[in-house]
């Protein structure tokens, strides 16, 4: 997508300045801004929708209606009204707080949550909608997701409140612990696809739901469950929302926050929820591929009918919708769990992680490996893999110029 | 839950000088104990297997004092009466003990009268004695932590005393 966009923008700037190609930097910058803006809007709008959805779901679960007043019968504009209210609220800061860290903490969380989206693809080859295609995308996403804990720790520490400090300590302990099983679970699809590139992993599951890694083996199935549990824990959702356990810690790390800064924490939380759900969809649920092979993707009848250009893009857009739908369903599942289950205690959260999730994930990884190795034609280290790598290592592969790395192009990497 | 009709006789037998008086009714019978013998009587009631009053429902203080001449006869001598309500859960028995104390150990300096604490026998007594101290001004000796439990720590006076006057002002808040 970026290539096309760059070309289009180049053409546009070229037309404007009268020289084509010389000032490509402008086009790249515009493309970068456009992509980052699209991601920002995706997170912001999904945050708006999720808050509304959460209230509606909570209402329905609790035999209530949820928001009904603002914005018509279903209260569509409730979140916007809430946002306006939060904007108008006073931005309070405790007298003893560390002003710099207290003010910065929400932005760090939001930045971490947003930047993880940079490497997340929304459709597969040949038109991967991805801001920056990385060949270590899984690793990158998990690494950046782990940075969100900083905002909580700093918020908790700088608030000069004991409840905040308790929340921050719980969060730090919890997130650092849950990164281990989360990583172990994410390794299984990586191993099955033979790549850490999310586009490759997603495309490896095309052709109907029986090709999804969820149904690859019983082990992979369990791995998905463990992954989702750990993902819920690592984004601080109930029943693992100990950092903000309101019945114990008043508000946890955001006790002292108000107004817009407080809402930024929530935007970051909903962003992370979305991120881990989309990641789960790509890693286990076929990503942008449909439940049945209807030939809408590359090489299907859609491309044959409309040509690889328009047809391909239509297919990719359809994939985007499919991926977002899968992510949304997982987010709804998280909400369902939140409004049904009591909260675990901190020692039980740690026990769940260290005694159950980590060993189960490790065993399942081993099991999935053996399963894959024992399948016909499914040997782990197929000879041509090694040959391919040798070929890569032997000679320099033509990669695009370095400045493209800021806004990578589709298909630029092998 | 019944009152044990024999208990006052047993107490008189066992602690002849401890039992000051006993009322058989008409509604709830009670036994009055001399304050200095309260601790041993209570210990016996708690620990004697035949008695085994294991449950202290509560204790409260009645202030008999009035400035009203019409009531003076009904009220009688100015005094504090500490009332203990005991129960035996297994045998479904109950018992009311009373202890009469002077209103002040030293009226001039308004030193509260003292009574031994029963908190070591029944843990219930711990908070109830605090309450009695707080509201009625009876000091319990050997209490683990006697404090004002309901009123603020720096409150002056004991509100359930009949001659109590609400302070005019408490930290800038109008009292009356």
């Amino acid at each position: 997508m970026a290539v096309t966009l760059n070309r289009a923008l180049d053409a546009l700037t070229g037309w404007l300045v009268g020289s084509i190609g010389d000032d490509a930097a402008c086009g790249y910058a515009l493309a970068a801004i456009l992509q980052a803006g699209m991601l920002l809007n995706l997170v912001a709008i999904s945050g708006l929708v999720f808050i509304w959805l959460e209230r509606k779901i909570a209402g329905r679960i609790q035999d209530r209606l949820g928001p009904t007043r603002t914005g018509g019968r279903f209260g569509w504009l409730q979140t916007i009204a809430d946002g306006l209210k939060l904007l108008c609220k006073e931005d309070l800061m405790p007298g003893k707080a560390d002003w710099l860290l207290f003010r910065l903490a929400p932005y760090i969380g939001l930045a971490a949550s947003l930047s993880a989206f940079l490497a997340l693809p929304f459709s597969g080859m040949p038109h991967p909608f991805v801001a920056q295609r990385l060949d270590v995308a899984v690793f990158f996403v998990l690494a950046v997701l782990g940075l969100e804990v900083f905002s909580v720790i700093l918020a908790g520490y700088s608030s000069a409140s004991k409840w905040s400090l308790f929340g921050a300590m719980r969060e730090a302990a919890q997130v650092v612990s849950y990164e281990v099983p989360l990583g172990l679970c994410a390794v299984t699809p990586v191993m099955l696809a033979g790549s850490m590139d999310l586009v490759t992993i997603g495309d490896a599951q095309q052709g109907g739901f029986w090709n999804w890694y969820l149904l690859h083996s019983p082990f992979a199935f369990i791995t998905f469950g463990v992954y989702f549990t750990c993902a819920t824990a690592s984004v601080n959702r109930a029943p693992f929302d100990l950092a903000e356990a309101e019945s114990e810690l008043v508000g946890g790390f955001h006790t002292e926050y108000s107004g817009l800064r407080w809402s930024l924490f929530f935007l970051a939380e909903y962003g992370s929820m979305m991120l881990v759900s989309l990641l789960a969809a790509i890693l286990f649920l076929g990503g942008w591929h449909g439940v049945l092979p209807l030939g809408l993707g590359s090489g299907g009848w859609l491309e044959a009918l409309l040509g690889t250009g328009i047809g391909g893009y239509l297919g990719a857009l359809l994939g985007l919708v499919l991926l977002l739908t899968k992510g949304l369903l997982l987010v709804i599942f998280m909400m369902w769990a939140r409004w049904s289950l009591p909260r675990l205690r901190i020692d039980q959260v740690m026990t769940t992680c260290l005694k159950y999730c980590t060993p189960i994930a490790a065993v399942c990884f081993l099991g999935a490996t053996l399963w894959q190795a024992s399948l016909p034609n499914g040997l782990l280290l197929r000879p041509y893999n090694a040959e391919l790598l040798r070929a890569q290592a032997a000679g320099p592969v033509a990669t695009p110029p370095a400045d493209v790395l800021i806004v990578d192009t589709a298909g630029g990497r092998p | 839950m019944q009152h044990d009709p024999a208990i006052s006789e047993q107490l008189r037998e066992r602690f002849p000088e401890a039992v000051v008086s006993a009322s058989p009714g008409p509604i709830d019978p009670w036994i009055e104990i001399a304050p200095e013998r309260l601790a041993e009587v209570a210990a016996w009631l708690k620990n004697d297997p035949a008695q085994d009053y294991d449950y202290l429902n509560g204790l409260c203080v009645i202030d008999y004092f009035t400035a009203d001449k019409k009531l003076a006869e009904a009220v009688g001598a100015a005094r504090l009466v500490v009332v203990y309500h005991l129960s035996n859960l297994s045998r479904k028995r109950q018992l009311t003990l009373k202890v009469t104390l002077p209103r002040w150990a030293n009226a001039a300096s308004e030193t509260p009268p003292t009574l031994p604490s029963l908190a070591a026998l029944w843990a219930t007594a711990e908070w109830h004695e605090c309450e009695a101290y707080d509201l009625s001004g009876v000091e319990f000796t050997n209490h683990p932590h006697l404090r004002r439990i309901l009123c603020p720590e720096d409150w002056v006076g004991h509100p359930l005393r009949k001659d109590y006057q609400m302070p005019l002002e408490y930290h800038g808040i109008r009292g009356r």
């Binding site: 003893k96 690494a143 782990g146 804990v149 900083f150 720790i153 000069a160 090694a386 890569q392 | 930290h171």
Partner: protein, 233 residues
Amino acid sequence: MIWHSFFFALFAALACGFALAVVLTSNVVRMAFYLVLSLSATAGLYFLAGADFVGSMQLMIYVGGTLVLLIFGVMLTAQEEFIRISTRPAEVALAAMVGLALLILLSSAAFRVPAWRGDTPAERSLALTPQTVGPIAMALLGLRVDQAPPTADSPPNDRPGYVLIFEIISVHLLVVLVGAAYLARGRIGANSLVRQDPSQPASDLDDLADADPSGSELLEASQTLDSPAETGA
């Protein structure tokens, strides 16, 4: 190319600036925070150089792991509200000397690399960056794909990869972790934590209340209580 230079300058400036801030600030938590930013900017430089794996690794291990533990440690051990560190001039001078020496050493090493001396354009060297993640991963498993495949004349285990080193490092780290846990493990009597006798008054709590028997007791007591990391008796 202009953006590449721009971002390089940006990240480099961020990394250097926050590194300086780490040295210059006296607040431990802010120090850790500036270190986070500095290391993140360094990760940005790695991404800029096309080393995605190293960049992600930097984020995961240094920023996400080590620094979280660092801040965690600071939070757990801080005795005052916001612990401050003051350095004496002699220490500053010493640190400056060491830092300068290191800078000279690194610079001279860097200028000795032919590709970086300007003989070849920077973009060419970047464009020639081979894909390294796969081979490194395979080498960690014992398969050296960057070497020639074993033939009849060379024995197959000529270049055994990094599997042994990998394992040794893992075991070493495990030993370090276990040792640290053992050293940190303290034994204290139950009584020093738990008050055994309920009849004993909760002395220091009462001191707290007694010290301030005014109407604003609640307010002031809660303020006293709310200062973080207040130590018990």
